[in-house]
Symmetry: C2
């Protein structure tokens, strides 16, 4: 690995004042959203085009210099850290909508655009990009972590909503992973290989995304239950009955209390499902009525819904602010959102065990999640300066990951492996890790692309 | 590469009378469903377990001996041919349903089970595996070619309906590509890497598939149009309006005439859409009414539908027999079904150009397809012994592939590359072919897994 100032000299003619070495800029580009210690890059660049990314990669490749893509910095497992140093490629100057093709329900974007900005730009078309991980993440970052969120139960994850990508490989070569066809059997599925690779196989420079029509009708509401098990059973039954729910989120009693305080609501403090149905007129009403029956059969003590957007938004805004609401209950503490995903039949068990574990370990936390997918989060509130707190948190994260794996699930449904979950990857996938490493070595033999992510530093 | 009889000797203690060397058995395991010449394997084995597949692979790996997985033999691009010789692994003795988990809407199967048999075994559960490529293909083969078919517009392709697979790698190692969780961000997406790899990266020995509930209500019917363009426009509009069509198939006038003869129907001979809506009571009716309006606006001259299963099945049986119907119009000739997939906005153009090309080249053929996905087939009827016919067919296939690629689509939406479409792969994906090859070399450095498929023989 060449010294940073030598690489900076080589890059300067290309990037001019879009190459930064100031400590403040470098620190801004290291992980801060987690308890994982920040590891700043040596350099930060703001490329403006695919061609520039390619040239940067060629220079870095020649110098064995690490390259870390940076979107909005909202990843949760240390994905943007630079444990080996290197250059952070901040994609915020590659954030354009390049083309909207409404006939084909697709949009071509640069990776730096955030999901909210994309949907603002789409507003006039009647189309929307539905993947919503909560944070206003960049589309490139969402692709790289295989993000999903509240809408995934209906529309799938990033893996289901990208038709094709342009990527720059470790040596600067530019490839396109697919076409605009809705399906293809032409060779290996490089699109899915790059999605979720956390920038370790290539730098995404363009994405062709599927869009959806904004539905004619939306009904949103909430159902409240005495126990988490009852709430989970209602979700299981809805999925089994083929109800095409648009969103279905569980918030535990603690989270409801936090939301009441933070979002000025007056909900009964008990396990609650926030749900949404959308589509055409009659079908949406029908699904809502079917779910009302299911929820009632499962012991719902309250079932409320509204078609009015303002009323619906009260709930969804509270849901989106859940992390901040949980944190506000514990002034002075920091929050950490972790995730796991299990087969839906094990969801009630897994959440109950995770809740008991919270109580037993004496940690402050709430549980909520995208339960239609079997995916849930625990928001832990703790003091990262307190060694005892950190030890408890690490113990909890380990038990939660292993519990999900033992139940036939995964240690991460949507946040990724990054640095935080490397120790559980082999527990989950066994020898398949070696296949992943073989692919990594084949595509990036010098290990310059986001080293130390998914696999330990120096261990590809 | 060791001589076949040496490998046979090494395998005999393991396989006993499940190892075959008879010419008739070998020939049965080479491609016959296309005009591509058959290339028989040297040996045929019928493994009974994953462990046996692993042991076979270890022995073949030690002897540099090619291994070709064989499902039902219904692939269309020469996928089961043995251009370098080797052993065909016939998976028909690994064809069990291992577990149905109705709570999680999933089933675990061995690769040799065919889709019809799977759905028969599921009958009592009220669940179904909806992917239907027409032929009664094996599930392992369907995974390997990334198959889809009439239901893909609603339920996606094999790529969207496999949660996880167990695969045996080139050196005999057994891996599992995923978990039972509905979504995951844990490392590289090996499941999608193996789907569509045509047996060149690993031998699939077990699959965990997503199931769907059998819908409460199904409405099926047909709409007839004066022109293919009108029919395509109706499809485009339906997709854009977010109509969740279960199936929507286009048959051109020639295909309708052939179906009338073959399936004893009396349909007006003109471009026709066969469609199906399914779901809950009110939503299904609503979609049917919306589509009636759309079709009428697009100039439909006839719109008929039925809820009754027998009436619906008349149409779908005719659709499934379309290949044989087309062939029956040309006694003594052989049929070839090719496929391409384009963005739906280009579908009418692409089909019209493909039809004009048929007329200009003097070939007998019909056009039909899964138009909701932009995917269509041309069934060519010709004499494979007639050099002039074969030259015309090859010219047509090349123009059809390049036309789809130039329109932003793919040379194959669901049949795969195999041997038949290798020459178009680089045209379509450019330098990405080299990434595919790098992955192939990383996972199968001796090139023993289905050599000569996707990439030319000896050219990985």
């Amino acid at each position: 690995m060449t010294l940073p100032h030598t690489v900076a000299e080589a890059l300067a003619p290309l990037l001019g004042d879009r190459l930064h070495t100031a400590q403040a800029v470098r620190d801004h580009h290291a992980s801060t959203a987690t308890y994982i210690a920040s590891q700043s890059p040596d350099l930060v660049a703001y490329p403006k085009s695919t061609d520039e990314v390619s040239q940067i990669l060629k220079i870095c490749h020649a110098h064995d210099f690490p390259v870390i893509a940076f979107g909005a910095g909202s990843s949760l497992e240390g994905q943007i850290n630079a444990p080996n140093g290197g250059i952070s490629l901040d994609m915020s100057e590659m954030a354009e909508v390049l083309e909207v093709c409404d006939e084909d329900l697709l949009v071509v974007v640069q990776p730096g655009i955030t999901r909210k900005r994309l949907n603002e730009e789409l507003r006039a078309t009647g189309l929307t990009f539905p993947i919503d991980p909560g944070a206003d993440a960049s589309i490139g970052g969402m692709a790289s972590t295989r993000a999903s969120g509240t809408n995934a139960v209906r529309y799938g994850t990033m893996a289901d909503n990208i038709l094709s990508m342009e990527c720059v490989l470790a040596d600067g070569e530019i490839i396109r992973t697919g076409t605009r066809a809705k399906k293809s059997s032409a060779g290996y599925d490089l699109t899915h290989l790059m999605i979720g690779a956390e920038g370790t196989l290539g730098i995404i420079t363009e994405l062709t995304l599927k869009l959806r029509g904004i539905p004619d009708k939306v009904i949103g509401g909430m159902a409240q239950f005495d126990t988490i098990e009852d709430a989970c059973n209602a979700v299981i039954l809805a999925i089994q009955c083929g109800l095409d729910v648009a969103r279905i989120e569980l918030l535990d009693a603690g989270q409801i209390a936090a939301c009441n305080d933070y979002s000025k609501l007056d909900l009964k403090v008990c396990p609650t499902l926030f749900f949404e149905f959308s589509g055409h007129e009659a079908g949406t009403d029908e699904m809502n009525e079917m779910f009302r029956e299911i929820a009632t059969d499962c012991g719902a003590t309250e079932y409320k819904y509204a078609q009015n957007a303002d009323e619906r938004n009260v709930l969804w805004t509270a849901r989106h602010n859940a992390y901040w609401a949980a944190l506000a209950q514990h002034p002075g503490k920091k929050g950490l959102s972790t995730d796991a995903c299990v087969p839906i039949s094990r969801l009630a068990d897994c959440i109950e065990a995770s809740n008991n574990d919270l109580i037993e370990s004496g940690l402050a936390g709430t549980i909520l999640g995208h339960v239609g997918d079997g995916n849930f989060h625990v928001i832990l509130c703790f003091d990262p300066e307190n060694a005892d707190d950190v030890e408890k948190v690490e113990g909890y994260l380990g038990r939660m990951s292993m519990r999900a794996i033992e139940m036939g699930g995964t240690c991460t449904g949507e946040h990724g492996i990054g640095q935080g979950k490397q120790k559980y990857l082999r527990q989950e996938v066994g020898g398949a890790v070696d296949v992943m490493k073989a692919v990594k070595i084949a595509l990036d033999p010098k290990n310059i692309l986001n080293p130390g992510k998914i696999f330990p530093v120096g261990n590809t």
